[in-house]
């Protein structure tokens, strides 16, 4: 094979994403775990699909949040639905929970990257199965997978994690956790060009998995620093 050629197969694999989702925030709270993501799927720099739900319920106890290539998120969602159906068809009183699904997704992602045909995503897989502790796992297109108390993907990693590190506690109430996730996504909307001001929040509390209706975010653009006239406004070459 020529240098730089990764496959002798004439079929090409997509190595860069086309329609993408941005940040996903996940955090454990007192009774379970929540996931939050905005409702935007960008087409490069165009904010193209503004009413997309990037959270998916998997099986009975698990929630999958996807950033990155949307078609890969949809493909994996369909595969997981098929797995959940087979799990139900066993009729053996055993159901797969967040640990099984997140582990499986991790293996799929790593094996795909090893074949140079990745699913171009950053996933947060969360859930709580009845009396077991809450589970939160980050999995990405390289096959990196780890468990944590709170994670964020994409820009949220840079803007949200510091906020989470300051304010997260293990005994947070649901409302506190929702408020913290909302705040992170607000900051992301202000500073991430690919973010949006409408979000979904999903909650896993051990008995049910619920994804909220779309929630509009508050955003304020009337800051003095933003609106008052500045010397350089008339100078087109200014870069401040």
């Amino acid at each position: 094979m020529a240098p730089g050629q990764y496959s002798t197969d004439p079929k090409q694999h997509t190595l860069s994403p086309i329609v993408t989702g941005a940040t996903v925030i996940g955090m454990k709270y007192k009774d379970g775990v929540i996931l939050a993501a905005d409702t935007l799927a960008s087409y490069g720099s165009e904010a193209r699909y503004k009413d997309v739900c990037r959270l998916k319920k998997v099986g009975e106890y698990t929630l999958l949040g996807g950033g990155g290539e949307l078609s890969d998120f949809q493909y994996l969602s369909d595969q997981l639905d098929e797995m959940a159906d087979e799990d139900w068809l066993n009729e053996d009183g055993c159901f797969m929970g967040p640990k099984e699904y997140s582990s499986y997704i991790g293996r799929v992602m790593y094996n795909r990257r090893s074949k140079f045909n990745p699913l171009y995503n950053q996933f947060v897989v969360v859930g709580k199965k009845k009396d077991e502790p809450a589970h939160l796992m980050y999995v990405d297109h390289q096959g990196t997978a780890f468990e944590e108390n709170f994670v964020a993907t994409g820009f949220g990693m840079h803007l949200g994690i510091p906020l989470l590190r300051n304010s997260w506690r293990a005994d947070m109430s649901l409302d506190e956790a929702k408020a913290l996730a909302t705040k992170c996504l607000e900051v992301c909307f202000y500073r991430d060009c690919r973010a949006y001001c409408k979000i979904h929040i999903g909650v896993c509390n051990g008995t049910s998995v619920d994804i909220s209706a779309p929630i509009p975010l508050n955003h304020f653009w009337g800051h003095g620093a933003w609106t008052e006239k500045r010397l350089e406004d008339d100078d087109p070459t200014a870069t401040w």
């Binding site: 066993n90 053996d92 009183g93 055993c94 640990k99 099984e100 997140s102 582990s103 499986y104 293996r107």
Partner: protein, 256 residues
């Protein structure tokens, strides 16, 4: 007898029987006694080894009991070489599940997978069935301690007590009378020993001819598998073997 319909596994006889499968089950009835007992806090499998010879370079060779996963093991009755293929498959299936899902495989799902594999050999390919029956004992978080029996047809059921190999009818009869719900591990071990004393064709059953294995919960709450040591087996069998006069007295009271 409709011999003409025997030779191919994949054909029914006019009476609707699969002769090859039935012949496979016959092979197992000649195997060494194998017993399984389900207790409230554990599961026991025990088997009589058929190949015991001074010349055998025994060391650590197992013939009857094989571990499948951290908290699952099985007892084999039938053609040993066939059993080895299936045991390899069982172990691989259990580990592949743990690799994908980071969780131990539920016992019934593992049993189902090997039974579906065995069933394939009774329906297509023109190959003979596996001449092996298993007793599978294990623990999972979903259903606790479990005991299953599988046969060459690919059928399986869950049991509280089961026996395969020679004298399995006698063994089952004793268990039918003496198995009680809520039995603890030690009582179940005593019952297993009692059954083996009756079914083994030797006057002095010792650890040399026996393998005993248990899945149990440690005081810390962890579930483990282990094989019993020779000293433990000998003590169990000695306690279960009735002394000279007792056997007759026991028989007298049970008939009155």
């Amino acid at each position: 007898m409709a011999r003409r319909y025997d030779s191919r596994t994949t054909t029914f006889s006019p009476e609707g029987r699969l002769y090859q499968v039935e012949y496979a089950m016959e092979a197992i009835n000649l195997a060494g006694s194998t017993v399984g007992v389900l207790a409230e806090d554990g599961v026991i499998l025990a088997g009589e080894k058929k190949t015991t010879s001074k010349l055998l370079d025994q060391a650590k060779q197992h013939e009857k009991l094989f571990q499948l996963d951290d908290a699952m093991f099985c007892a084999v009755a039938g053609i040993t070489s066939d059993a080895n293929i299936l045991i390899n498959r069982l172990r691989l299936t259990a580990q592949q599940h743990t690799y994908s899902f980071s969780e131990p495989m539920p016992v019934e799902q593992l049993v189902t997978s090997i039974c579906d594999y065995k069933q394939g050999y009774t329906q297509f390919g023109g190959l003979r069935p596996f001449g092996v029956s298993f007793l599978v004992a294990g623990y999972d978080a979903h259903h606790g301690f479990q005991l299953y029996h599988t046969d060459p047809s690919g059928n399986f059921s869950g049991w509280k007590g089961y026996a395969i190999g020679v004298n399995n009818n006698t063994a089952m009869q004793i268990m039918r009378q003496d198995w009680k719900p809520g039995m603890k591990l030690q009582e179940a071990l005593d019952l297993t020993a009692k059954v083996l004393v009756k079914t083994m064709d030797t006057a002095s059953p010792t650890a040399e001819r026996l393998e005993f294995g248990i899945v149990y919960k440690t005081p810390e709450g962890q579930v483990k598998f282990r094989m019993l040591k020779d000293t433990e087996i000998n003590k169990l069998m000695a306690d279960a073997t009735p002394k000279e006069g007792e056997e007759a007295a026991g028989a007298a009271t049970s008939t009155s």
